[in-house]
Assembly symmetry: C2
Homo-oligomer: 334 residues x 2
């Protein structure tokens, strides 16, 4: 059976902000799977901030995407052909097949997932996927929140922050989100159940943060950097923990602002620890099982922003980097 693939390639490296012209969409002819290979038709593509780093020439924690190559990305899809005994046609699988309609795999990087009424395929790219595990690892392995402590979550309405905050609530913490805009803040408080949410675009970040954290800050889940980190460092308690998950405010800056308040780290004996979820591969099955149960039971809530069609992936990605999504940003392949 002859099939045509649609792929989004990295056409050029961005200087500063990402442009749609940094991508190029091509149709290619699809060969048949070789011995041991599986052909997957992708249903959903995950768009994540880390991809911004892969567009640069400089190595981040993983190699760059080469110019002219398919953009990297996590996917959920259906097996349409298999020459691998471990996978059958119609299996639903999660993998890293990239920004393309179809992808091949030898099976080593594919995981079968179970789709149910309460766990649709897309959730395996969000709350029960990499973002959910990132939230879990950062909060519990590094943040180690104790009941009654105050936990602040940046990018609180996003795929990672929304889960991290709800997990902190489940531990009996006071949880304060930071998000951009009234709509996101309302979602974070009313639907996700955070105790408060600060709109950093309202222009009173330092004062609003002080008001929302009367007992100081014990854990700060950091995905943003810049002025928000600075404001938090003015409020941290002794022995505060800062899991450093991302720095989305800096990814597109060639001269990002420095962290000025290093003395707060010293005087308050703060631990600031960068982490990458990929380093916790052994814990992944146990964490996703627990997240799946919490999602299925309704204990954890999530939202998705879904762009329809691979051709809209570049615009959706650019919008996500600007914070235009609510919850997990996905592309539905049609």
């Amino acid at each position: 059976m002859s099939r045509t693939n649609i792929q989004v390639l990295l056409a050029s490296r961005p200087t500063g902000g990402v442009q749609e012209s940094n991508f190029c969409i091509v149709e290619t002819e699809l060969p048949s799977p070789g011995a041991g290979e599986i052909l997957v038709k992708n249903q959903y593509l995950s768009l994540d901030p880390y991809m911004r780093g892969r567009m640069n020439a400089a190595k981040s924690y993983a190699p760059s995407v080469a110019l002219g190559e398919v953009m990297v990305g996590e996917t959920v899809g259906i097996v349409v052909e298999s020459r691998n005994p471990q996978f059958q046609e119609h299996d639903i699988v999660r993998g890293f097949l990239g920004w393309q309609q179809y992808g091949f795999s030898d099976g080593r990087d594919l995981n079968k997932v179970t789709v149910t009424e309460h766990l649709p395929a897309s959730v395996y790219l969000g709350a029960v996927g990499m973002p959910g595990v990132t939230a879990w690892v950062g909060l519990f392995e590094i943040g180690k929140p104790q009941p009654g402590e105050t936990v602040v979550i940046s990018a609180a309405s996003g795929a990672v922050g929304s889960i991290a905050g709800q997990l902190a609530k489940s531990k009996g913490c006071r949880v304060v989100g930071i998000a951009g805009g009234k709509e996101k803040c309302a979602y974070v408080v009313d639907e996700l159940g955070f105790d408060a949410c600060i709109d950093y675009k309202a222009g009173n970040l330092v004062e609003d943060l002080a008001r929302a954290t009367p007992a100081g800050i014990d854990v700060y889940f950091e995905s943003v950097g810049g002025e928000i980190l600075e404001a938090v460092l003015g409020r941290v308690n002794t022995f505060a923990r800062i899991p450093l998950c991302g720095l989305i405010s800096r990814y597109s800056e060639s001269q990002p602002a420095g962290l000025r308040n290093l003395t707060s780290l010293l005087f308050n004996r703060v631990t600031l620890q960068g982490f990458i979820v990929g380093d916790y591969a052994d814990a992944w099955p146990s964490i996703t099982r627990q997240l799946g149960q919490m999602i299925a039971s309704g204990q954890l809530k999530y939202r998705e922003t879904i762009a329809e069609g691979l051709e809209h992936a570049p615009a959706a990605f650019i919008g996500m980097l600007k914070g235009q999504n609510l919850g997990k940003q996905l592309v539905k392949l049609i």
Copy 2:
């Protein structure tokens, strides 16, 4: 017996660099010890970078010194009168009696020390005192160096850095110091046994550091901040640890430069942890016992820069903040 005390008071708070005029030296009449009190004649006063923070109005990790009060400081001295059954005349004691000839104590903050041929009284303010314990805690509790790893020590010829580097050598690490000037670097390599020492004043910090750390940096013992920290962040390996012990380059700056390379912390999964030796009081007896044995046996070496007479304490303190001392800066009270 009527005695006259000599005290150094905080006369005014520095704006920027410390001046001698920020201190004032007074003579006062000394009362007799009250019930339960001990009167100590101080022999040595320790001068340490943390004191700079106590001169500011803003709280650091401990309260400020009030204007007109005796400057805080660790001391070793001899008991000259005791109305406390736990201390006898002629006991040699370490305490926090401040910048003064005589001090009173109720005994709770005094520790008797044993002076021997190889452990003179002054060593209890340096290698076997707070600086030595700071080096031990930062290196072993936070830095956790493994044999074969590369450890970089800032302020390498100072009271803390010189011990931290020798301890790292004892664990089989490659140890690279950073110090200001040829004389200090020669001391660090030739006498303390570091593998290399970089003169940050020579103007090639980034290149020199790269040359001295061909396998990258696994542990960075941070006492300085500023450009040295930035240079190190350009060389850290994944999972590097940075015990944050001090930021001497920043203490006198009202607008210190920021830490620009936060992305290195993220991408390399670095742990940056502020610590204060006072938080490890329980471990102090065990650590000082081990340090004392290593000093007495000659395994650990140290040097002292000694100012003679309390009236020279302000100038010696200002010189230490500028890095003019080699090893532990003390004042000998005469």
